[in-house]
């Protein structure tokens, strides 16, 4: 228990001290939120709705980014720098290490959500009911699991540069085609048809539904669950192959 706590504390410190985390997970989403709800919102018919909707988009964007980029890259770095090997010479169980990483990640995701929600409240005076805030926050944390698994898959890559490039493309691609950056409805129809099957769209859609007074659809949940299982199975397979030397 003590080692779990110490390790989690260390992981949290490491993530918070990473300038990329602060930039991508906090500064960027808040800046985007400001730009797209205060500066470029001229022709939005129901502004209040849009402000709540886009707040959800940005919170999802932030947490997805932390999971895919920070988590995945960190895994690659630790391996290439030999850090994972060092840890394997210590009595720290691998499971505790993995658990503390997950725990730290979850806690920081929660922190990002609170900060971004608060900024939405401060910037635009977004008002949702207490249960809506809570449900949206919970959804964004829990439904981020497929992205953590995707991060884990990126974490199997051999080189930091490759992992960095690929995770950037995935992150941006998923964010844009999933409608996290701009409204899904203004995208070409063909893109929308593909986008509906992406984890990012279903992730965002759950939060949007909650903000609009509904709840995440069963289809979204199933699709996200499918991605979670797929990513976990693939990375399990890749890891096994890498270890079989």
């Amino acid at each position: 228990m003590k080692s779990l706590w110490m390790q989690s504390k260390a992981e949290i410190l490491r993530i918070v001290r990473n300038p990329y985390f602060v930039f991508w997970s906090l500064a960027m989403p808040i800046l985007f939120y400001f730009i797209f709800t205060r500066v470029l919102n001229g022709d939005m018919p129901n502004l209040e709705e849009w402000q709540a909707h886009y707040l959800m988009s940005m919170a999802a964007f932030s947490v997805m980014g932390t999971s895919v980029m920070t988590f995945g890259l960190r895994l690659v770095q630790e391996r290439t720098q030999g850090w994972s090997t060092v840890l394997r010479t210590t009595p720290l169980p691998g499971a505790v290490y993995a658990a503390s990483k997950m725990f730290a990640q979850m806690l920081l995701n929660l922190l990002c959500i609170v900060v971004i929600f608060t900024s939405g409240w401060l910037i635009n005076g977004v008002r949702l009911s207490a249960s809506q805030w809570l449900m949206a926050g919970l959804w964004i944390v829990i439904a981020s699991l497929p992205f953590l698994a995707l991060g884990g898959l990126i974490g199997c890559m051999k080189k930091v540069d490759t992992a960095n490039g690929i995770s950037n493309v995935l992150y941006m691609g998923l964010a844009i085609s999933g409608g996290l950056w701009m409204p899904f409805e203004i995208m070409p129809e063909a893109m929308q048809r593909v986008g509906k099957w992406l984890p990012s769209y279903n992730y965002g859609d759950g939060a949007w539904s909650i903000a609009a007074g509904g709840s995440p659809s069963a289809v979204s949940m199933l699709i996200l669950l499918g991605y979670l299982i797929a990513f976990m199975v693939i990375s399990g397979y890749v890891r096994k192959k890498q270890e079989a030397v």
């Binding site: 390790q7 490491r14 990473n18 030999g82 850090w83 394997r88 010479t89 009595p91």
Partner: protein
């Protein structure tokens, strides 16, 4: 004396290449042992198997009476690997505390801080911003975090200046005196010679020699006795070989160069004695000892290049 580490016929094959080939040895408590050899000789692979980072393809290893890689075993060992990685985003002081939390009976914090040789301001710096030497010193402190019984150092002094190197070895000596067992790998003969009680000489995945530094030196260095025969008539080369063959325990090689008969043998004292006692007409007797570094270099150069296997990738 208790045996702390034991390897029985251990081999490791990477993609059909044998990086370690049938290695056996036992290490006693409180000793300092050097794994000496050129790059690619199998030192790091052997050490990785002792640490439980790699599984042997064949053979058995035991460490502190248990299996390497076992949690209880790991609680009692410390390791400093070739590439000293320092976790990013954590200060040296935090790393020391973190590592202490991994072990059931951690070493004293102040002792570890002293061991790292870092100043109070450096202790508050992140590992990434340290010099290679400082990182290595920190790595040493981290290896000691669990107050281990057995210590593994893979090329520990690469990148250290003379003072830091001296300090490191003085500390290691102290640890061995306290009953800790130390294993280190190096490709510097000098270092193995001056710091180790015992040298395991690795060559192409096998142990080419095993003994005290003096014994290893004796095995590596060619010693010879040479003389000029008084008469040029008889076949001296054959005669000498016959004479020595009867009375010498180990084999001797007899050659001739410019009329001088050269006997290359391990025990040159015995050769001398036999030659004198035989009453042969010989003069201008010389005893020559080859140069140690030259002999080691030759061994290294012969095989060093073709046995390179990147074990780090495999880990």
């Amino acid at each position: 004396m208790t045996t702390v580490i034991e390897l029985k016929n251990v081999s490791k094959t990477f993609r059909g290449k044998k990086a370690v080939d049938g290695v056996s040895f036992a290490i006693e408590k409180g000793t300092i042992t050097a794994l000496l050899g050129p790059n690619g000789a199998g030192k790091t692979t052997t050490m990785s198997m002792m640490l439980g980072l790699l599984q042997p393809s064949e053979g058995a290893l035991s460490l502190l009476g248990g299996a390497p890689g076992d949690r209880r075993t790991r609680d009692r060992i410390g390791a400093m690997l070739q590439e000293v990685a320092v976790m990013d985003g954590l200060k040296a002081r935090e790393l020391i505390d973190l590592f202490r939390s991994y072990y059931s009976r951690p070493a004293d914090r102040d002792y570890l801080i002293k061991l790292s040789g870092l100043s109070p301001s450096d202790l508050n710096r992140s590992g990434q911003k340290m010099s290679g030497g400082q990182r290595r010193s920190l790595g040493f402190a981290l290896a000691m975090a669990g107050n281990p019984d057995v210590l593994f150092f893979d090329e520990p002094t690469v990148g250290l200046d003379t003072t830091a190197r001296r300090r490191f070895w003085d500390e290691v000596r102290q640890l061995a005196k306290q009953g800790k067992t130390v294993l280190f790998s190096t490709h510097y003969l000098e270092e193995a010679d001056s710091e180790a009680d015992r040298i395991l000489l690795f060559d192409q995945g096998k142990i080419a020699a095993d003994g005290t530094p003096d014994e290893i030196k004796r095995a590596l260095v060619k010693r010879s006795v040479s003389f000029l025969p008084e008469t040029a008539d008889a076949d001296w080369q054959k005669r000498t070989a016959g004479l020595l063959g009867m009375r010498l325990e180990n084999e001797a090689e007899v050659t001739e160069s410019n009329g001088r008969i050269i006997v290359t043998a391990e025990d040159t004292d015995a050769v001398l004695r036999i030659l004198i006692e035989s009453g042969l007409g010989i003069r201008d007797i010389r005893v020559d000892v080859g140069r140690l570094d030259a002999a080691f270099e030759q061994l290294t150069r012969n095989h060093g290049t073709n046995a390179q296997i990147d074990t780090r990738e495999a880990i």
